[in-house]
C-alpha cells in the first residue's frame, strides 16, 4: 500500500505537469505561431505540409508595413497605433475614475435601488457587443460621431464600466469600514481618509480593473469595425482588415501588425502585475 501511495503521488505530480503543459500549449501556441509567422516569408507560412521549424527568419513583413508604398503592403501603422492608444487609455482612465467612485459607493453606502442598479449593470453585460452595433451605428450617425475617437471612447467607457464597478466594489468591500472611520477620527476628512487609507488598500483592485478595461478596448473589434472607417479613428484590430483584399490575404503582414498590437498589451500587464501580486498578499493582513 505504501508503495502504491507514493507512486500515485508521483504520478499525480507528473499528471499535473503534463496537464499544465497541454493547457499552456493550447493557449500559447496560436500566439507563438503568429509571432513566428510575422518573421517568415509567405511561402513558408503557406506551405503544405506545414514547415514547423522556421528556415528563414527576416523582418520583411515589418519593413513592408512600415514602408510608404501601399502596393508593397504598407499600412498606416503609426496612425492606428496612436488611435488605439488614445482610445484605449482615455476610455480606461475615464472608466477607472467613474468606476472607483461607483465601486466605492456600492461598497460603502446604502441607497435606494442599489441592488436593482447593480443587477442592471450586470445584465447590460449579457448583451453581445455585436447586437449593439446596428443601433449604435444609427444613433452615432444621427449624432455625427461616427468615425471619431470620441465616439469610440464613449462606447468603450460604457462597455467597461459595469465590470470595473463590480471589480472595484469587491476590493473596497474587503477593506474593513473601520479603517476609514479610524482615519476620520484621526483627523482626516472623508476625502483624505479615502486617499491615505482606503485607496492604498484597494489599489490592486483598481489596477486589475484598469488592465481589464484597457485590454478590452485595445482588442475590441466588432464595434470598432462598424463605427470607424478612416485612418483618423481606425484602431489596430480594425487595421488588420487592411491586409485582406478581394482575392488574397497578406498573412505575413497581418501577423506583423498583430505582434505590434500584442507587445504593448503584454508590457502593460507585466508592469501592473506587480500590483496584482501585492494585492494578493494583502489578504494575509488582518485589520
Amino acid at each position: 500500500m505504501m508503495v502504491s501511495h507514493a507512486s500515485r503521488k508521483i504520478l499525480l505530480k507528473w499528471g499535473r505537469w503534463v496537464g499544465t503543459f497541454v493547457a499552456m500549449s493550447l493557449i500559447c501556441i496560436p500566439g507563438l505561431w503568429i509571432v513566428l509567422s510575422s518573421f517568415r516569408p509567405n511561402v513558408e507560412i503557406l506551405s503544405k505540409p506545414a514547415v514547423w521549424i522556421p528556415e528563414n527568419i527576416n523582418l520583411d513583413h515589418y519593413r513592408a508595413i512600415f514602408s510608404s508604398d501601399p502596393g508593397q503592403g504598407a499600412v498606416p501603422v503609426w496612425n492606428y497605433f496612436q488611435n488605439s492608444m488614445i482610445i484605449a487609455s482615455t476610455s480606461t482612465l475615464i472608466a477607472i475614475i467613474i468606476g472607483m467612485a461607483g465601486g466605492y459607493a456600492f461598497a460603502r453606502y446604502r441607497f435606494r435601488g442599489k441592488n436593482t442598479l447593480f443587477l442592471g449593470f450586470m445584465l447590460s453585460r449579457t448583451v453581445p457587443g455585436i447586437a449593439l452595433s446596428l443601433p449604435l451605428f444609427i444613433v452615432y450617425a444621427k449624432l455625427g460621431i461616427i468615425d471619431t475617437e470620441f465616439g469610440m471612447i464613449l462606447i468603450y467607457v460604457a462597455l467597461n464600466l459595469p465590470f470595473t464597478i463590480w471589480l472595484i466594489d469587491g476590493f473596497f468591500r474587503q477593506v474593513p469600514e473601520e479603517l476609514g472611520q479610524a482615519a476620520q477620527i484621526d483627523g482626516c476628512t472623508p476625502w483624505q481618509a479615502f486617499w491615505h487609507v482606503e485607496f492604498p488598500l484597494a489599489k490592486s483592485g483598481v489596477a486589475s480593473a484598469a488592465i481589464f478595461a484597457f485590454l478590452t478596448s485595445w482588442n475590441e473589434f466588432a464595434l470598432a469595425s462598424q463605427l470607424t472607417r478612416s485612418t483618423g479613428s481606425k484602431t489596430l484590430p480594425v487595421g488588420l482588415l487592411d491586409f485582406t483584399s478581394e482575392f488574397t490575404i497578406n498573412w505575413g503582414g497581418m501577423c506583423a501588425l498583430a505582434v505590434i498590437m500584442i507587445v504593448p498589451a503584454l508590457l502593460l500587464t507585466f508592469v501592473v502585475q506587480k500590483h496584482l501580486v501585492a494585492g494578493l498578499t494583502f489578504g494575509g493582513v488582518k485589520g
Binding site: A182, A183, D186, G187, G284, V285
Partner: protein, 361 residues
C-alpha cells in the same frame, strides 16, 4: 477639561428606534463603562459620541461644545475599535504618527510624541513592523498607542479586548487601567463582559434595549441593583431567584410553600400581598459548618445536584423553587450529588423585586 454630556439622545434606523433617549453625564477624567447584552445599543451610543453615526435626536456635548453636527475629526476624541483597525499598509511608527501627520505637525514633534506613546505602551522594539506581523496583544497596544498620541479629550473603546484570549484579556485589562491612571483622560468603554466592566469602571452604565437601566459605581450596582435585570446581569454566578408572595406575618411565602422571615426593615417597605421575586447572591448563603451567615439568617434544607471545586471554594448547585440555585461553599469539603445539606440564607441581604414591574422594592 472634557466633560461629556448626553441629553435625550435618540438613534433611529428608519422607523426603528435602537437608542431611546438616554441621558448621561460623564465627569472629566472619569472611566465610564457601558455594559449590556448584545444588541442593546452600546456601540451605537459610542459611535454617536465619536461622530461615526448621526444623532437622530437629542444633544451630545463634549466639553462645552455641542458636537451633534461636528465631523469626527473636529471632536478631538480617539477610538479603539474591536478589530483594532490598524492601517495595514503602514508600520507601527506610521500608524502611531498618522493623526499627527494629518494635522501637519512638525517632524520632530511627531517623532517625539510617537516615541513617548511607544514608551508608555512598550512598543519601542516593534516600530518597523507592519500590523500583520504583530500578535493580537501587540496590535491591541498599537491601537491604544494610536489613541493616546493625539492627547484627545476623550478615549472611546469599543470592546477592545474581545478578540484576545482569556489570559491576555486579563493582562490588557490591567494595562488599560494603568494607562488611565497615567493619562487621566475621560474614558468611555463599551463591553458586554460584566467582569471587565466591574474591574475597570469608576461608574457603570447598564443598558438594555436602547435604554439605561442603572448608573452607578460597580459596588453600588452590585449591592443595590435597581431591578431584576441588573441583578441578574451583574455578578457571577448570577443571583439566585425564587417567586413568592409577601404575607401579613412579615414573611415571604415561596412557591414551594416555604416561608422565610423578612427583616423588619424589609417588611416595613413591602406591603403584604405583593407578588415578588426574591433574590439572593451565592455569597450571601452559607453552608452549615462553613461559616456564619449573620444574625438574620434562616436555614433551608437542600439536596445538592452538582459541585464544582474551585480550590479555595466550591460552587454547589441545587434545585430550589423550580429554579437552579448556586451557592458558594467556603473552606470546601467534597460534596456528592444527592447529598442533603443545610444552607443559611442571610435574610439581611435578600432582595425583593416586584413581580410585574421587576423594580427592586
Amino acid at each position: 477639561m472634557a466633560v461629556v454630556t448626553l441629553e435625550k439622545v435618540v438613534k433611529r434606523y428608519g422607523p426603528l428606534d435602537v437608542v431611546h433617549g438616554i441621558d448621561l453625564d460623564i465627569a472629566h477624567g472619569e472611566f465610564v463603562v457601558l455594559v449590556g447584552p448584545s444588541g442593546c445599543g452600546k456601540s451605537t451610543t459610542l459611535r454617536m459620541i465619536a461622530g461615526l453615526e448621526d444623532i437622530s435626536d437629542g444633544t451630545i456635548r463634549i466639553g462645552d461644545r455641542v458636537v451633534n453636527d461636528l465631523p469626527p475629526r473636529d471632536r478631538n476624541v480617539s477610538m479603539v475599535f474591536q478589530n483594532y483597525a490598524l492601517y495595514p499598509h503602514m508600520n507601527v511608527a506610521e500608524n502611531l504618527g498618522f493623526s499627527l501627520k494629518i494635522a501637519n505637525r512638525p517632524k520632530d514633534e511627531i517623532t517625539q510624541r510617537v516615541a513617548e506613546a511607544a514608551g508608555i505602551l512598550g512598543l519601542d522594539d516593534l516600530m518597523d513592523r507592519l500590523p500583520g506581523q504583530l500578535s493580537g496583544g501587540q496590535r491591541q497596544r498599537v491601537a491604544m498607542g494610536r489613541a493616546i498620541v493625539r492627547h484627545p479629550d476623550v478615549f472611546l473603546f469599543d470592546e477592545p479586548l474581545s478578540n484576545l484570549d482569556a489570559k491576555l484579556r486579563t493582562q490588557m485589562r490591567t494595562e488599560i487601567k494603568k494607562l488611565h491612571q497615567k493619562v487621566k483622560t475621560t474614558v468611555i468603554y463599551v463591553t458586554h463582559d460584566q467582569i471587565e466592566a466591574m474591574t475597570l469602571a469608576d461608574r457603570m452604565v447598564i443598558m438594555r434595549g436602547g435604554q439605561i437601566e442603572q448608573v452607578g459605581s460597580p459596588m453600588d450596582i452590585f449591592h443595590n441593583p435597581a431591578n431584576l435585570f441588573v441583578a441578574q446581569f451583574i455578578g457571577s454566578p448570577p443571583m439566585n431567584l425564587a417567586d413568592g408572595v409577601v404575607t401579613d406575618a412579615k414573611t415571604v411565602r415561596l412557591e414551594n410553600g416555604m416561608e422565610l422571615p423578612l427583616t423588619a426593615d424589609m417588611a416595613g417597605r413591602v406591603a403584604a400581598g405583593t407578588a415578588v421575586v426574591m433574590g439572593i447572591r451565592a455569597e450571601e448563603m452559607v453552608f452549615e459548618g462553613h461559616g456564619d451567615a449573620g444574625a438574620q439568617s434562616t436555614r433551608v434544607d437542600i439536596t445538592a445536584s452538582l459541585s464544582e471545586p474551585l480550590g479555595n471554594e466550591s460552587l454547589v448547585f441545587f434545585e430550589f423553587c423550580g429554579r437552579e440555585w448556586v451557592c458558594r461553599m467556603f473552606d470546601p469539603r467534597p460534596v456528592e450529588p444527592g447529598e442533603s445539606l443545610g444552607v443559611h440564607l442571610n435574610m439581611d441581604r435578600v432582595h425583593l423585586f416586584d413581580k410585574t414591574t421587576e423594580i427592586r422594592l
